[in-house]
């Protein structure tokens, strides 16, 4: 019979039940979809690493060594598989397609190609393109023991004149098996290699040039693999190819240090956790996992609150029914189960629908992610655990929301329950004592604001409902604003150049003068970059020291908080007096202004000690900065510029071609092109965030609808009495709406604060030396969120107001006090 009662109550207020179930569905879909995709992705990474024998350690040698001089170290106990190889960057030239590219920051966007500019149809036009290739040697004898390659197209290289290209650079330039890649040796010789295969590598699932440049464009940077014999012929006149890196897997983690100890001094060890590609992906995956718990927990917390509000109201309204049931002989347990059942049913139904939907959505997310990131091998895992967890979370949420009202119902004494409840308390609110003119307001206005204080529980629910809803909407928007701001800050405020040319070993000052005189060139800035290792108390960090000339602002640190005077202050009489660190490095290594940091040049391994004079707030690229000439003097460098920035107001294409044809130019980056694509990507990100906003908005609507409805239902008799006494229904509607808006405004404010905190927590999950995002909220976000919430408040109050307008006044006025 109690089940029949429950069923009828659900049928009588279908929207209320639907709202509760919808909230649960949203939370469970978010959890199951994101957690299942997380597990699939994690499994795919592990599977790729396992099959392709991803290394546990990398040891960079302090120069070139004959293979036999270092491979003995790999005999150390605990080493499973090992390789000695040559890794170097060389200028290269390919015949690149001229069609627009579906890549940004090294990420393949072809899966969302429909949002990108349409490619021209017809035959591919090609032109020579200069870029930097990271060349890794692969054994002649067969596949590498460690860091094996997955051949996507073609055949594994077997002859000295063959090369294998990592798939991103191949796809970007639309290069196919059989096409040629020309490599340029440091001494100017060149040699054409035929593409034997397009491959994927476990070391370059995320292609990074270095820790400081984790978003190189495949336009100017790529990875390629060449048989040892090919490199020996090309670079070492057919002699034996020396090596400069060891990679190995271990069965015992101590083996890493053991191998290092057996190698010449100056060799540096990198464990898997700090391998750039792995670390970027792990950061991404960890952040994803945390968000997969964080957002759903938020949604389910809201779900529990809504169920509590609904059930508390039901129990209060049904005091008489509960008393009667108890009087008839129903046990406390039966009453408790009955009032808990509504919440549990909402939880169960919501989690069942949510888990199944989540399973379908997770497949789509996994496919999209795999396609965008380019995971070599995909393996999905059975999701029974997540499905079970989703169902459990649904039930737990239902139980959490329903248990307190159900216990309250079960503990009611029959006589007490059937007695008329005392008159609702009313008292002069504190606000009126603080601000006496309020007492002189018209009676209707007084009812309006005193009601807000009369039942703090009711007001609190409304405020919390709006606050949580606002924070849910805001958190996605703030994340986007922060990323948008960081990208614009990086690519528009700090990196203000249009074209960046990298030189090896460097460009003399005359080249800068020549470039400045070129037609269409507006400004030129030359910088010096020294690859360095920073030695902190316990850790070593590889980065670059960038020497900048004060007064030249194509790479501008002023928006990052470092002005020309700060930069000048780094220069001393005989070289650098101090340095400026990227703020993310300061945070990561706990360095403060005034601390001394040891800086080792990776060019000659000389070590200098500098005082930290300040920190630059740069979102990307954890570099070290100093005054240009002082940097050169400190490290005894010739007067050469390793990187030249240019702004262009003429024919950019022609200038880039001209730069690429200059001797010593390793690569030329079209920053303006990148900037356009960043804007485009951000527009697409808005679409993605739009989905999050839609979910947040739906949740907000359900939450605010429920709290508003309950708030009005609880006062139905009071409001009906006002109407009987002759208050126009419009005035009552206004009063109720204004109450909603006032509580909404408080909720909005709290929600704005909560949203900032949540966004900050979410960004913190991603923060590292690789990305340094500040929490930024654009004013328009507040305006749009505020207006959106206003709309939601008004919309969600409408059904309740309509119900109020259609009340049977006589019937409601005769009810006992709720």
């Amino acid at each position: 019979m109690l089940w029949l009662k429950l069923r009828r109550e659900i049928i009588r207020s279908p929207w209320q039940f639907t709202a509760a179930v919808l909230i649960m569905v949203l939370g469970i879909v978010m959890f199951s979809a994101s957690y299942m995709s997380y597990l699939n992705l994690n499994e795919s990474y592990q599977y790729s690493y396992e099959v392709l024998h991803f290394a546990d350690y990398w040891i960079s040698l302090p120069g070139l060594f004959p293979r036999d001089a270092v491979t003995d170290a790999l005999e150390a106990e605990g080493v499973e598989r090992g390789e000695a190889r040559l890794v170097l960057s060389l200028p290269a030239e390919v015949m690149s397609s001229t069609r627009p590219k579906a890549y940004l920051l090294g990420v393949d966007l072809s899966v969302i190609e429909e949002y990108l500019p349409r490619r021209e149809e017809g035959p591919v036009r090609r032109e020579p393109k200069r870029l930097e290739l990271r060349i890794l040697s692969v054994p002649d004898r067969g596949r590498p023991e460690v860091n094996d390659l997955l051949v996507v197209r073609g055949e594994y290289a077997s002859s000295p004149d063959e090369i294998m290209l990592e798939y991103r650079v191949a796809d970007y330039h639309e290069l196919e098996v059989g096409d040629e890649v020309t490599l340029f040796a440091p001494d100017g010789r060149e040699r054409a290699f035929k593409i034997a295969a397009v491959v994927r590598s476990p070391e370059f699932i995320w292609v990074a040039r270095s820790r400081q440049d984790i978003f190189p464009s495949p336009d100017t940077f790529g990875v390629a693999f060449v048989p040892e014999s090919g490199l020996a012929e090309f670079l070492f006149a057919g002699g034996e190819m020396p090596v400069n890196e060891l990679v190995f897997t271990v069965s015992d983690p101590a083996a890493g240090e053991a191998v290092l100890d057996a190698l010449p001094k100056g060799a540096t060890l990198t464990e898997r956790a700090h391998q750039v590609s792995h670390e970027v992906l792990q950061l991404d995956l960890d952040g994803y996992r945390q968000l997969a718990i964080f957002f759903p927990a938020l949604f389910l917390g809201v779900g529990a609150m809504v169920l509590y509000v609904l059930q508390a109201r039901t129990v209060h309204a049904q005091r008489w029914v509960i008393g009667t049931m108890r009087a008839m002989g129903y046990s406390r347990g039966a009453i408790m189960v009955h009032y808990l059942a509504y919440a549990l049913l909402a939880g169960l139904l919501g989690s069942a629908i949510g888990a199944i939907t989540g399973l379908l959505v997770s497949r789509w997310i996994t496919e999209l992610y795999v396609a965008i990131i380019g995971i070599p091998l995909v393996r999905t895992v059975p999701q029974y655990g997540v499905l079970a967890a989703a169902m459990a979370f649904g039930l737990i949420t239902g139980a959490l929301g329903g248990i307190i009202p159900a216990r309250a119902a079960a503990s009611l004494l029959p006589a007490e329950a059937m007695r008329e409840s005392p008159a609702a308390a009313g008292k002069r609110p504190w606000l009126e004592r603080v601000f006496p003119p309020l007492a002189r307001l018209r009676a209707l206005a007084k009812v309006g604001y005193r009601d807000l204080f009369r039942n703090p529980r009711r007001s609190l629910y409304s405020v919390l409902g709006v606050a949580v809803a606002t924070s849910l909407i805001l958190v996605s928007s703030v994340l986007l604003d922060s990323v948008d701001w960081a990208m614009r800050h990086q690519f528009e405020d700090i990196e203000r150049y249009d074209v960046m040319a990298s030189f090896y070993p460097g460009a003399p000052p005359e080249v800068l003068d020549e470039l400045a005189d070129e037609e269409g060139v507006r400004a030129v800035q030359g910088v010096v970059e020294v690859p360095v290792e920073l030695h902190f108390a316990e850790e070593v960090y590889t980065t670059a020291l960038r020497g900048l000339e004060p007064g030249e602002h194509l790479y501008d640190l002023r928006p990052a908080g470092i002005d020309d005077a700060d930069l000048e202050a780094t220069a001393g009489s005989s070289g650098l007096r101090g340095i400026v660190l990227a703020a993310s490095l300061g945070q990561r290594f706990g360095v403060s202004q005034g601390d001394i940091v040891e800086v080792e040049s990776l060019l000659d391994h000389s070590v200098r000690r500098f005082e930290v004079l300040g920190f630059a707030e740069v979102p990307l690229g954890a570099l070290v900065f100093g005054e240009r000439d002082a940097v050169a003097r400190s490290f005894d460098l010739p007067e050469l510029y390793t990187t030249v920035f240019l702004t262009v107001d003429g024919d950019r294409e022609r200038l880039i071609k001209d730069l690429e044809s200059r001797p010593g130019v390793v690569s030329v980056l079209d920053q303006a092109n990148l900037r356009d694509t960043v804007r485009q990507l951000l527009r697409m990100a808005y679409a993605f965030i739009g989905v999050m906003l839609l979910l947040g908005g739906l949740l907000a609507l359900a939450v605010v609808f429920t709290t508003t409805m309950v708030s009005i239902l609880e006062r139905e008799r009071e409001l009906a009495t006002m109407r009987i006494l002759g208050t126009p229904s419009r005035a009552v509607a206004w009063m109720v709406s204004l109450q909603g808006l006032v509580l909404g405004a408080v909720g909005l404010f709290l929600g704005a604060v909560l949203g900032q905190v949540l966004a900050s927590v979410a960004l913190g999950m991603w923060g590292s030396d690789l990305f340094d995002f500040q929490v930024v909220t654009y004013p328009r976000t507040y305006v749009v969120t505020g207006l959106g919430m206003l709309g939601i408040l008004l919309l969600s109050g409408m059904p309740a107001l309509r119900r109020l307008a259609g009340l049977n006044l006589a019937e409601v006025a005769k009810r006992r006090e709720d």
Partner: protein, 233 residues
């Protein structure tokens, strides 16, 4: 005694699902100025329906109901709201005071709705609650709350005072004092209608209308009504 309310052929039929319920069968009735009319009858006899129709909370299915020359069955919702505001004072069994307003503010609430109200404080003093004016409903006894409700009804100086079981939630001593206030209102020219199933209350009426199954089964005029303070139940 001139008629304030005139009902001609007035009936009310409800639909409850498939079932048609004749709450009031066609009736002709007039209520006079300064008269206390007590409507008695068992549950479901149509007492409250009659009160709701007179008070403009509901519309008759057939017939007309004219109050002070205005056929209120023709009024739209806005017109009925204005009618209730200007002409009718309601007194409920459970008082229905607005919890967030003090006794005086509850009276002022209604005073603020009409053009020429009486002085709220004076009205509150008249019902014996001058010293409780600043108390909230939760701080007042049931009798005091009902007296506030009467003051709230009187402050607009209405033509009609409609009371639905005004003593239903009160003890006898408190109840008779409330009835005495209603008698005083009638003496000041109000037409007072009291709906009750307490036959003892009927003794104070100038007129007793008995209903059963939606029909008037008797309409009795009393020459010498009992002083409310002498009633006991």
């Amino acid at each position: 005694m001139s008629a304030v309310v005139r009902m001609v052929g007035m009936s009310k039929t409800y639909r409850m699902g498939e079932v048609e319920v004749k709450a009031l069968k066609p009736m002709d009735l007039e209520l006079g100025e300064g008269e206390v009319t007590v409507v008695v009858g068992p549950s479901g006899s149509g007492k409250t329906t009659l009160l709701n129709l007179i008070g403009g909370l509901d519309r008759p299915t057939e017939g007309t109901i004219t109050v002070a020359g205005v056929e209120i069955n023709r009024l739209d919702n806005g017109g009925l709201t204005a009618y209730r505001r200007e002409k009718v004072g309601f007194i409920f069994q459970f008082f229905n005071l607005i919890p967030s307003l003090t006794a005086l503010e509850n009276v002022e609430f209604v005073a603020g709705l009409v053009k020429e109200p009486l002085d709220p404080r004076q009205v509150l003093e008249a019902v014996g609650l001058g010293d409780r004016a600043d108390h909230f409903p939760a701080e007042l006894s049931g009798g005091e709350q009902q007296r506030v409700a009467i003051a709230r009804a009187l402050v607009k100086d209405p033509l009609l005072l409609l009371a639905d079981e005004p003593t239903g939630a009160l003890d006898v001593d408190t109840g008779v004092r409330v009835l005495a206030l209603l008698r005083e209102a009638a003496q000041r020219g109000k037409s007072v209608v009291i709906v009750t199933h307490n036959s003892a209350v009927a003794k104070m009426g100038d007129r007793i209308i008995r209903l059963r199954d939606g029909e008037v089964i008797s309409d009795e005029r009393i020459e010498s009504p009992v002083d409310p303070l002498e009633i006991r139940w």
